[in-house]
């Protein structure tokens, strides 16, 4: 909502009055702070931002990115904040930051930050924030849903019933029990820890790998993903994508996981060597996979389409009404914090850099 007041110039000959919009502190009080918006968005999100900020929207500008950025940078009140998202064409790197030197804050509307050069931002004093825990619960729920689907063949049975095969061919082949399965979670952060809590209620045994063991956690820690895979029946990728975690699930790890093993990926496609995964599935070296992300989205290896033991989705683990609404509030919150000189709500700091 606008915070504004009317100033009546009682003695003015024309009897007119001035409208003054009170913007958040930190800028020209007559003008809302400018914010670059470099993502496809729904109307509610854009409206929420537009109520408080002067939104410079890339996708509706119709211009190529360099021209858009140059125009924004050349304006009288250039933007000090940018809202971006991963998985698209916009990378926040040196040339991006060079193009808009007024930027002091970058918000990304996802958890992943692999599209942002954190070192470059740190060098220039540009604060970075992500979506914090906004999506963590929905992604964890979806990961569990994928695992249930793969192990118990929910989607495969669905297709079977819809084809009309049940009366004709009898029952669809059985799935496999969850209880007692050893689940190896790669990355025990906001998402991984929620997955663990849910799967414990199903009687799963939780193992994990992360950069360092977590002191307060009683799950069994493995220093590397190969050893984790060797002692797990299920591998769930719930870590960030960076240099250390690219292809962290490779041919060696898949072999260690073994013939009964299942892989679930709700991280980034590139966390897994996708070509090797397809080979492992084709040759029966692992038992199945649930994949919400792929190395070259929107391309999905076509060979997967005919496999009954995989469950596929197109990067939807975050997409619920509730988290969409939470994201709006969260983004506005971060922007308001920034423009009023306060710390960002969910800063991504240098600690997130690869060792």
């Amino acid at each position: 909502h606008f915070r504004f007041f009317f100033v009546t110039c009682g003695t003015d000959r024309r009897g007119s009055f001035q409208l003054s919009a009170m913007a958040s502190a930190g800028g020209n009080p007559l003008v809302l702070p400018a914010v670059l918006h470099l993502r496809r968005s729904d109307a509610d999100f854009t409206a929420a931002l537009s109520e408080r900020f002067r939104v410079l929207d890339f996708f509706s500008s119709g211009e190529p990115l360099p021209a858009f950025l140059a125009a924004a940078a050349a304006a009288p009140e250039p933007p000090r904040a940018a809202v971006v998202v991963g998985g698209g064409s916009v990378r926040v790197d040196a040339s991006f930051l060079d193009a808009v030197p007024s930027l002091r804050c970058v918000l990304t509307t996802g958890a992943g930050i692999d599209h942002i050069d954190l070192a470059e931002c740190a060098r220039r004093g540009v604060a970075v924030a992500n979506s914090g825990e906004v999506f963590s619960t929905d992604v964890a729920d979806y990961a569990v849903g994928l695992l249930l689907d793969v192990l118990r063949r929910v989607s495969a049975a669905e297709r079977y019933v819809r084809r009309g095969s049940w009366p004709v061919q009898g029952d669809y082949p059985l799935g496999s029990k969850l209880g007692g399965k050893r689940v190896g979670i790669i990355g025990l952060g906001n998402i991984g820890s929620r997955i663990a809590r849910r799967l414990e209620a199903f009687g799963c045994i939780i193992h994990y790998n992360s950069r360092k063991p977590k002191d307060s956690i009683s799950y069994k820690y493995f220093g590397n993903v190969h050893d984790l895979a060797a002692e797990s029946d299920v591998l769930i990728v719930a870590c960030a994508l960076n240099k250390a975690t690219r292809h962290i699930v490779d041919k060696d790890v898949l072999e260690a996981l073994g013939k009964g093993g299942v892989v679930i990926n709700i991280g980034r496609g590139a966390n897994i060597d996708e070509a090797e995964l397809v080979v492992a599935l084709r040759e029966g070296k692992i038992a199945g996979a649930g994949l919400d992300v792929f190395e070259h989205e929107p391309k999905v290896p076509a060979e997967l389409f005919s496999m009954e033991n995989v469950v596929l989705s197109r990067h939807v683990a975050v997409f619920t009404e509730e988290s969409r609404s939470d994201l709006r509030a969260h983004t506005v919150g971060n922007l308001e914090a920034f423009f009023s000189g306060q710390p960002l709500l969910t800063p991504v700091d240098a600690d997130s850099l690869v060792q």
Binding site: E158, R159, R162
Partner: protein, 316 residues
């Protein structure tokens, strides 16, 4: 368990229908079998135990040809296919699968619930068709965590469903014949009120005369537009034609169904709906749980034939 007795002393067990091969192989060393439909008079007179594999109807007439019968041992959880009135009036004991299937059924109930709310199966179909929507075009689904879940029947299966959904941060309440003092969830005496206060209704109770068609139009209207019905109990718990109408008219938001009134016939109208997830009565079925059922069946039969208390007797 005791070692199997020598072959010629094996007790006779009458079979209501032929056993699955796994069952038959596992039990062959312990008991002699005769198939009810083919049994000669001597076997019919001798048989003190009837083993009901699968879900064939067992009527008073079937029971009537077995004068020595004392035990009806079922391999399923629900026993609505057996004439319990006839069992009661003859003083027969009836055993079921006990908790052998409970975890798997509960797991599947949750799997159906997540699949409906988060459209997991629908997303899979979409990708397999070679399509990939841009951000903003994807229909938003609804969060699982935090939903209000009403469980109908808080027995072995229902209580496990509750525990799993509590780990998702769902608010669980339940309805059953009587409150369970040890259950940490609110008890709701009227099913309609449970539906009115829930986003999801999970059916995990037995099918009896009282519970037949308990989910009717009134209950579904109380569940409401965004509401989801998950049924891993029996098809007969739901007025199926009314369910179709309510789904078609948007009276409720969606359904996850493992059971139907006339299996394996699935109403064709369901096959065309996007907001339902369908399965072929598989909630109980994993190889591990079949092993579990075998253990329960053997335990019950052994106990019976050696005069010890039954392991999973049902209250009739």
């Amino acid at each position: 368990m005791a070692a199997p007795p020598p072959a010629d002393e094996r007790p006779l067990v009458m079979l209501a229908q032929a056993l699955f091969p796994e069952f038959a192989a596992a039990l062959a060393g312990r008991y002699r079998f005769a198939l009810l439909a083919d049994a000669d008079a001597a076997a019919a007179d001798e048989a003190r135990a009837l083993l009901v594999g699968g879900l064939p109807r067992v009527t008073a007439q079937h029971l009537g040809v077995l004068p020595a019968l004392k035990l009806v041992a079922c391999t399923s959880v629900g026993v609505d296919h057996v004439d319990l009135d006839a069992c009661r009036s003859r003083g027969l004991s009836v055993t079921n699968a006990g908790a052998a299937f409970a975890a798997d059924s509960a797991d599947y109930a949750v799997g159906l619930l997540v699949a409906v709310l988060r459209r997991v199966a629908a997303a899979d179909v979409y990708v397999r068709s070679g399509r990939w929507a841009a951000d903003g075009d994807y229909p938003l689904t609804t969060k699982v965590s935090g939903k209000r879940v009403g469980i109908v029947g808080l027995g072995n299966i229902g209580s496990r469903v509750a525990r799993r959904l509590a780990a998702f941060g769902c608010a669980v309440s339940y309805h059953s014949r009587s409150p369970k003092p040890s259950a940490p969830y609110p008890f709701v005496p009227a099913l309609r009120d449970l539906a009115a206060g829930s986003d999801v209704l999970v059916l995990s109770c037995a099918l009896t005369d009282e519970t037949k068609h308990m989910v009717n139009r009134d209950v579904m209207e109380a569940l409401g537009k965004g509401g989801v019905l998950v049924n891993v109990g029996r098809g007969g718990l739901v007025d199926e034609p009314e369910l179709l109408r309510c789904l078609r008219q948007g009276v409720i938001g969606g359904a996850g169904l493992d059971v139907y009134e006339n299996e394996p016939a699935v109403p064709p109208e369901l096959l065309a709906m996007e907001n339902v997830v369908l399965s072929d009565h598989r909630a109980v079925l994993t190889p591990e749980s079949i092993g579990g059922v075998l253990e329960v069946v053997i335990a019950n039969l052994d106990a019976f034939f050696s005069g010890r208390p039954l392991v999973s007797p049902m209250e009739l």
